[in-house]
Symmetry: C2
Amino acid sequence: MKPTHIEHIGIAVTNLQEAIKYYEEVLGLTCYSIEEVADQKVKTAFFMLGQTKIELLESTDPEGPIGKFLEKKGAGIHHIAYAFDDVNAALTDAGQKGIALIDKTPRKGAEGLNIGFLHPKSTLGVLTEFCGK
Amino acid sequence: MKPTHIEHIGIAVTNLQEAIKYYEEVLGLTCYSIEEVADQKVKTAFFMLGQTKIELLESTDPEGPIGKFLEKKGAGIHHIAYAFDDVNAALTDAGQKGIALIDKTPRKGAEGLNIGFLHPKSTLGVLTEFCGK
């Protein structure tokens, strides 16, 4: 099952306002949305560039996934999200191919998208998200 | 200065053939090129997905940049490359904004593109490449 495009790249940052400033002033992008995802214990900022979004992730809880990532690895690229027309089918297909799934079925993520994560132990060290409408 | 799109995402892998198999069989992508970049001490494999390429990077020398990255951090996402119409101007602009540059002027990279890297200490932990024709 092939994704249609790279939906977004997730980047863990220590300070969202400082990071938005960098992406706007140095890379010339425009932040079009800031959203807190309570379930994931993050505050996110989105930028559109061609087909793909940059999603900045600031932790709202040291015990959340981004809090733990920042403590262990520091700020940097966190995950890649591939867009699929049918996220549920894509997750099922990956699972049938032996990939360890963090989410066996889609749940709601930022921007109201259906999302599911594959475990990096099965994806050559790359935390991988499948997402779509 | 704004990039036109995300040109590629660079991913460090320990075994290129194993990684190609994963990207083809699980993600449904097609490897269209394998290229050794002697200067960077890497062997690369490329996949196209919408506007953006996935560039897998296998080290050919433990002392090269990918060899050192793999030893320190293990396999995973290595860098993001932004496409610019004028890479030289984009590097100059970033330098004038106080960003530390690994390459002050473009050099030739994989696929014959002009490339230049920004230092992750200036880019919130994200190794960032500017590239273009």
